[in-house]
Symmetry: C2
Subunit: 152 residues, 2 copies
């Protein structure tokens, strides 16, 4: 099985509720390459409902876009540097500076959601990522992220 | 004890993981008036950590701003209409159309976070709300929300 981007995060930085392998109660989101784009798949538990049980709450939508976005920023940077994750060099790590989420329609509960990331641009330590979250009937949310590479 | 904005949400719309009174496993965020602004206070459980255990994960920050923002949009609208929540008229309900979160610095774990909302403008069914999230050492995140009033 292919390792996810998050599988290469150092253990001491892997406690995130959204995507950290060391957080036993978290979502453990896993992000991968899909050609030139990145992809993650996730089916929220029913407890993460929005105002009505049939929809996913907004915080979950933002969380999925956020964790997938920073993982994608790292992946795009590794590729731009002609590096591979886990190559023994300094790990490339990103934090979110800004995330804008446009909620286009309610996100359905009980189906697998697909999160996609696309590189817009890299400018030094700044990486802009365009994101989307798709349910079983089209795009539910779009995201724009500015991620900042941490100094190592 | 003063009722929170969320206490007036109809039960059938109160399942949100972030703020719904009918969600037994959720955060139960409670928003109130504070003069002309709105305020909510919340101390995240340690499991909601970011990459490192000392910080809160980004999805939680977005969730707090999102739930407080839509509750605030409703409150600002009631006040603009010279109405009170629970006045027996049609409930005023909002959904998020767009939320932008600027993460200014890491949000500390283990302290009470204060979320504030300020009305920017109301234009028909559209309400813009400026948001902030403060830890024990200043503002950690700022938010801008466009909320849309649901037709009833």
């Amino acid at each position: 099985m292919t390792a996810a981007f998050q599988d290469f995060y150092p253990d001491e930085f892997s406690h995130c509720y959204g995507c950290g392998s060391q957080n036993p109660q978290g979502h453990h989101l896993k992000s991968y390459w899909d050609g030139e784009e990145t992809i993650a798949r996730f089916t929220p538990d029913a407890k993460y409902s929005g105002g009505v049980p049939e929809h996913v709450y907004g915080g979950m939508v933002a969380s999925l876009l956020d964790c997938h976005g920073t993982a994608s920023a790292a992946a795009f940077t590794y590729r731009a540097l002609n590096r591979e994750m886990g190559d023994g060099g300094d790990p490339v790590r990103f934090v979110t500076a800004s995330l804008k989420v446009d909620f286009l329609k309610p996100t359905p509960m009980g189906v697998e959601l697909v999160v996609r990331g696309k590189l817009r641009s890299i400018d030094g330590r700044k990486v802009w990522v365009d994101l989307s979250l798709t349910g079983n009937d089209g795009i539910c949310a779009k995201g724009e992220m500015l991620a900042i590479r941490l100094r190592t």
